[in-house]
């Protein structure tokens, strides 16, 4: 028999404990720092020539920070959209489909963005 007490013991009824909460907060803090940096970087790049933009993005430090931002952003947006889906979509089939689509979208965006940055960095 599963009592209510038993259901919430350990990792709780969601079976993932506070993992989701921590992932959201960790990526939020990383995003805050990285986004502030990139807002200023893009402000300085506005209206600049293609060669200047590519030279800036291609610098190792900038490229690595961009890759870090991409990773942190796609993880953050995936867990954020997951909560939105879980809040508003109640049909089990539709919910599972959208949760899968959400994961695939986040991975696709992350890989495409990382590929674009690396291509510029390596001068391909």
């Amino acid at each position: 028999m599963r009592t209510l007490r038993h259901r919430v013991r350990g990792l709780g009824p969601a079976h993932s404990g506070t993992g989701h909460f921590w992932l959201q907060r960790t990526t939020a803090i990383a995003n805050a720092a990285l986004v502030i940096y990139f807002v200023f970087l893009f402000v300085t790049l506005a209206g600049r020539s293609h060669a200047a933009v590519v030279a800036t993005i291609g610098q190792p430090v900038v490229a690595i920070l961009l890759l870090a931002a991409i990773l942190s952003i796609v993880v953050h947006m995936r867990v954020g959209m997951q909560v939105i889906i879980e809040d508003y979509v109640h049909g089990e089939a539709a919910k599972v489909t959208l949760l899968l689509a959400n994961t695939f979208f986040a991975i696709a965006v992350g890989l495409a963005a990382a590929f674009a940055v690396l291509r510029i960095s390596f001068g391909l």
Binding site: A28, N31, V39, A46, V53, M77, A113
Partner: protein, 132 residues
Amino acid sequence: MIEPKSHVERPLSPHLQIYRLTITMVMSIVHRATGAALYAGTILFVWWLFAAGNPRRFETINAFLGSWFGRLILFGYTWALLHHLLGGVRHLIWDTGRGMEPGEREFLAWATLIGSGTLTVLVWLLALMLRG
């Protein structure tokens, strides 16, 4: 003995439209809305990154982003980003247990809104000044 019913009609909590609109409520909705908009906005960011790999396509996307419509999108993007950022900071403050008292909540909500508007205008003024 009472027969357990399979479906009990329990009272439901009233829905959104029954409450008076408050600034904290609006900022909560806006935080989620800007998050969803930024989610879609990553497509524009990826498009731009890909275009940066090729001089001719870079000119094309720059011409679009430099048009009044492109600038409107970028201005909205900037605001959504900064608003979600400040809204996130507000949540991090709440995570420490602070800022939840009456008055403090409203102050943080207004600070998020006024802060994001001000910062967006400042970022754009800076960009336009540097552009010359």
